[in-house]
């Protein structure tokens, strides 16, 4: 069956070629014959200018000495006019533009408002690089979807790009968010402040920080030794450290956040009162009308569910008699839980699918 499906017949091939030709013609007509065209990338452009100033902070009232601090601020900063900041002579101002993506529909509204003279709306411009990006994203999206037909070179290209890009993405994230501030910042703080992280906190004990950073540096090299053809056992030291730390963290957090918190959340009153009556309820004012019927049923069901599923997970007793019956109820609860989780997962995936179609039809084809 699978062989028949994976081997294209001549009729099958003709169908796919026809579809490709039809798609290409439709795409060309949509791109060039329609007035609105397709795939428009827009950016909101903000001009930024900064000048270097000196901030004079008096050490105290009537103090003779003062510490000078250098800062970069906007030239329109009111503290320059008030004299709190003084422009540093001989340092040229820095100016650049900051662009942020704007959806096409929002961009059209912003451009119309600005053309009508509303200068409070930020400037929006068409962006060639982002338009090209939409085409690339559409190409890769369709490449992944092409796997629904069968494994093919288009899909494999998209898959290879994903592997390479995601590996580098996570590595760069780890580099800038962890290695630079925590490792390099402790080993060479002056250099890191001058090149990458000027806001790196100044340590009160730089020597001790240096030696404390040498340990993970050595462990890191030992971990990378795993790539060497010989002496792979050296990496077991950092691996033991990683396992030990994870075990220590999970032992405490698992008991506190999962075991205790979930047990406490289960220990709720079985009789649930209506919200209006809950504040005034006493033994003498008991009445059935104050009880929330469905709330109480829900509370009982929750407790019965937790206890019966835990009984099913308890293997020190044979699942016979009362224990067996309770465990069977636990299985029913588990089946409903899995069914519900399955339904929610499928709906989540379908939402993602709808978002991808929305991208293809609205952002790329511009027919949404």
């Amino acid at each position: 069956m699978s062989v028949t499906m994976n081997t294209p017949t001549s009729g099958n091939r003709l169908l796919w070629i026809s579809l490709m030709v039809f798609g290409m013609v439709g795409l060309s007509l949509n791109a060039f014959a329609r007035k609105d065209g397709m795939a428009h990338g827009y950016v909101e452009v903000k001009e930024v200018e900064r000048v270097q100033v000196t901030v004079v902070q008096s050490a105290g009232a009537g103090a003779a000495s003062a510490d000078a601090e250098l800062k970069w601020v906007a030239p329109t900063d009111p503290k320059i006019a008030s004299g709190e900041y003084t422009r540093v002579a001989g340092v040229a101002p820095r100016a650049w533009t900051v662009e942020s993506l704007v959806p096409a529909k929002e961009a059209a509204m912003m451009m119309t408002a600005r053309d009508a003279g509303d200068l409070t709306v930020e400037r929006v411009e068409p962006s060639a690089i982002n338009t090209f990006g939409i085409w690339i994203a559409a190409f890769l999206t369709l490449g992944i979807f092409s796997f629904l037909y069968r494994d093919n070179p288009w899909y494999k290209v998209a898959e290879s790009v994903l592997i390479g890009v995601s590996a580098a993405y996570w590595m760069i994230n780890a580099f800038w968010s962890t290695l630079v501030p925590n490792l390099f910042g402790a080993l060479a703080p002056t250099l890191v402040r001058a090149v990458a992280s000027p806001d790196l906190p100044v340590s009160s004990s730089p020597n001790s920080d240096f030696w404390l950073a040498v340990v993970p540096l050595i462990l890191g090299f030992m971990l990378l030794w795993r790539l060497a053809p010989k002496g792979g056992w050296i990496s077991i030291w950092p691996i033991a450290f990683i396992i030990g730390t994870t075990a220590g963290l999970k032992l405490v957090s698992g008991i506190e956040a999962d075991l205790m918190a979930q047990a406490v959340a289960t220990m709720q009153p079985l009789v649930v009162l209506n919200p209006a009556d809950s504040a005034t309820a006493t033994a003498s004012s008991f009445s059935f009308s104050a009880i929330s019927f469905w709330g109480s049923i829900g509370s009982v069901v929750s407790v019965v569910g937790v206890l019966s599923v835990l009984t099913y997970f308890f293997f020190s007793l044979e699942h016979k008699g009362a224990v067996g019956k309770t465990a069977r109820v636990g299985v029913w609860f588990l089946m409903i839980t899995f069914g519900s989780a399955f339904g929610l997962t499928v709906m989540g995936r379908i939402t993602l699918l709808a978002q991808r179609f929305e991208f293809l039809f609205t952002d790329w084809l511009n027919i949404g």
């Binding site: 030291w237 033991a240 709906m347």
Partner: protein, 233 residues
Amino acid sequence: MLKRTIPILILATSGAILVVAYFSPFTTNWSEVVLMWFNILAAVAYVLGAGNLLAVNLEKVSSRRAGWAYALITLVAFASMLTFGLFKIGGVPSEAHPDVPYAGDYESTQSAFGWVYEYMLSPLTATMFALLAFYVASAAFRAFRAKNLESILLLGTAFIILLAQTAAGMFLTGWIPADSVFAFLRFDSLRIAITEYIQTAGMRAITIGIAIGIAATSLRLILGVDRSYLSKQ
């Protein structure tokens, strides 16, 4: 000694420090140091993963094994993204420190790194996950059979949850008045009852079970009873 005793001691010490630090405020700074080392090693692990990816793909390209062209694409994509991110190519300066060369945000929209994330990584990841909608539905269609009470419960619940979130659910049971005695038969009410009470109870028991399992495994590791991590060395 080097291959067994020291790793066991390292594991026990690092684990014990974190447990002790929870109970004693005097040792909190020890746990901070251990966690900082852990974070650095976790970051180095990404470098290890990338190194492994490079080694595997370079070998594939150099030996011209089947699919070497795809390995080359992976290598080019990896090297490009790495260069874009490390040197913050195309990024904007930091507004507070425009004189510091690499102080700007590495993920800014204008940077090459941000562009690749926006137009390559993000759509590829989302589409990969979206693709699973087809396969999950297809697998469920083939695997789900209402053979006994348990499978009927699973199938019925999934059916109710799926229908309740679509217009069809509203169409089928929306005519039942929300304030009537039979309001609980509406798909939206059933979905709320299932997720709030039954699913919560099931997930709660599963979480408690997992927590007990993790605590037991962690204790076995810290006390040196479980040494399986040494077996492949």
